[in-house]
């Protein structure tokens, strides 16, 4: 009985961790972009539903791979055999920059939310202050307990669902267009909607018990994505239904506008603002900690400058890796404030996310063909059909997103990817020739 309860609690925690990272405040900005492209309620709801369904497919591919590789090395190890170590490392490194770009947008929202709550200082300074505090807390090695994180995630989910249901049962505050169905608009909105689930695979890099990797994590991943899908459908419907599009186009805090439109005396808006701050801090904690570990490991291996492998001796944290991450996020943040454009980093993040899911799904298919049945503890039903399908879907969505942004952004993204790839190739060649890729 006690063992069953313990397992149930642990499974709940895995669900919470999987849901916690994508539940970031920048998801609301992604919803604005989706509303703009979808144009009506039918297209919007369908795009979130389709986005959820295909991300569940991606989650299943992660589940199968994590059962084969019960290790905390994540994407890199999944991609290594089918695509080669150089491409696997380059994609992992590109992934770091994508997460950091998303963190730049997240801090942009957080700064605006904190400004709304306090009414003093400007949003940019709030963003910078929040980022510095988060990185300092990480350097000091403060870890939130698993139970606390679980409670926070479920509380956020409950508040978002209740607010959305409240919005949907009260008369609409906005003239809402219900249709007609437009497949192109729906697909484009779906592609943007991939951003909503960014980081759901973080649970695979946590270093939990081996038994979790083989049994619980493969089951928690698709279920968590499905639950997130329900939350996102409700929230996006509520925002579209109750906040005029003209207001959405000029705000960084659509979630707070929703609260104001529902109850004009600010009480609900303040509650949503507080929830939004919690979402941001929780997502930052997950994103920054996870990426710092990868930067640290690459520094240790010599694939990034070795000083990234230095740790702070009192708290055992990779502080130089964390400071580097802070500088990169601040750069993305400054770009968002300077240009007033958060759409580009969100499009690029969603696009690269799609390519990563395509690569992981291809890897799952590759492993399915190469390994014996008993070597795969968690097998997805009809994987031989579903994995190639997932690869094609996400590769197409990635291309669609790259075509949706300007030529300059597409070129910069593609060139960055090749620069990272050539850098890793060069670095590996240098390490191999100098013999410093081997322990002394």
């Amino acid at each position: 009985m006690e063992l069953r309860l313990k397992r149930a609690l642990k499974f709940n925690r895995l669900l919470a961790v999987t849901m916690g990272t994508p539940l970031a405040s920048s998801a609301f900005l992604s919803m604005i972009l989706m509303v703009g492209v979808a144009g009506n309620m039918v297209n919007l709801v369908l795009s979130v539903i389709i986005g959820t369904a295909i991300t569940v497919l991606a989650a299943l591919t992660y589940g199968e791979l994590v059962s084969i590789y019960p290790s905390a090395a994540g994407n890199r190890i999944f991609l290594k055999k089918p695509l080669g170590d150089t491409i696997a490392i380059a994609m992992s490194l590109m992934w770091v920059f994508v997460i950091l770009a998303a963190a730049g947008v997240e801090s942009y929202v957080l700064g605006n939310v904190l400004y709304y709550l306090t009414g003093f200082m400007n949003p940019f300074l709030w963003s910078v202050l929040a980022l510095v505090i988060i990185v300092l807390v990480n350097i000091m090695g403060v870890e939130l307990s698993g139970n606390f994180q679980t409670i926070v995630t479920y509380s956020v989910v409950i508040v978002l669902v209740l607010v959305s249901i409240f919005a949907l049962i009260t008369p609409a505050k906005n003239a809402v267009s219900m249709g007609p169905f437009d497949p192109v608009a729906t697909l484009t909105a779906t592609a943007i909607g991939v951003y909503l689930f960014l980081g759901f695979g973080r649970v695979t890099t946590l270093g939990e018990e081996a038994v979790d990797y083989e049994r619980s994590i493969p089951r928690a991943l698709p279920l968590a994505v499905f639950l997130l899908g329900i939350v996102f459908v409700l929230v996006s419907m509520a925002i579209f239904r109750d906040v005029p599009y003209a207001s959405l186009q000029n705000t960084a805090i659509p979630q707070i506008l929703l609260g104001q439109y529902l109850i004009p005396n600010r009480s609900l808006a303040i509650l949503i603002a507080i929830v939004s701050v919690v979402m941001s801090f929780s997502a930052f904690n997950a994103g920054i900690l996870g990426t710092s570990r990868l930067v640290y490991a690459l520094g240790r291996e010599g694939l990034l400058p070795r000083f990234f492998g230095v740790i702070e001796r009192r708290h055992f944290t990779p502080y130089l890796a964390l400071v580097f991450l802070l500088i990169v996020v601040l750069t993305f943040l400054a770009l968002v404030y300077e240009t007033g454009n958060y759409a580009v980093p969100l499009y690029v993040a969603a696009g690269f996310d799609s390519f990563m899911y395509a690569a992981v799904a291809y890897s799952a298919f590759w492993h399915l063909r190469k390994l014996k049945a008993e070597e795969i503890p968690f097998r997805v039903f009809a994987g031989k059909f579903l994995f190639p399908l997932t690869t094609v879907i996400f590769f197409s969505l990635g291309i669609l997103l790259l075509l949706s942004v300007s030529v300059v952004v597409t070129l910069v993204t593609v060139i960055s990817m090749f620069l990272i790839l050539f850098y890793i190739m060069g670095r590996r060649m240098y390490l191999s020739r100098s013999g410093s890729d081997r322990p002394s």
Partner: protein, 122 residues
């Protein structure tokens, strides 16, 4: 080819040498003097593993363990790989990244273990 008993004996001797090196290395001691934990070394191809009890940076005890449930930090892999790793012939970061060795535990504990290995052999 070594039998299970011999592999276990070799691993124990390696861990004892590792523990002596760790306890006597000034740099390591300076780094981990406040670190207390239990590390389970689990060779997948053998029936039992070893539990290292660390208190304030010193490895106090190496005891045989017959269950994978022990330990706050876990290092799991083939016995010869783990033996080579604790002899300093294999790089823990590489083994982890290549999925040859699995490590489980808190972020902090895993980084400390890696740092100890680096200070001893790099």
């Amino acid at each position: 080819m070594m039998g299970s008993r011999e592999k276990t004996r070799t691993l124990r001797e390696t861990l004892e040498a590792f523990s002596r090196d760790t306890n006597s290395n000034e740099k390591v001691q300076k780094l981990i003097r406040k670190w207390s934990t239990t590390v389970l070394i689990w060779p997948e191809d053998l029936d039992s593993g070893f539990l290292l009890k660390v208190e304030n940076g010193k490895i106090h005890q190496i005891i045989e363990s017959t269950t994978r449930e022990d330990g706050k930090v876990k290092v799991i892999g083939k016995s010869d790989v783990i033996t080579n790793m604790f002899k300093g012939k294999e790089n823990l970061a590489h083994l982890y990244m290549d999925g040859v060795v699995q490590t489980y535990g808190s972020e902090k504990d895993q980084i400390v273990l890696d740092a100890v290995a680096r200070l001893l052999w790099n």
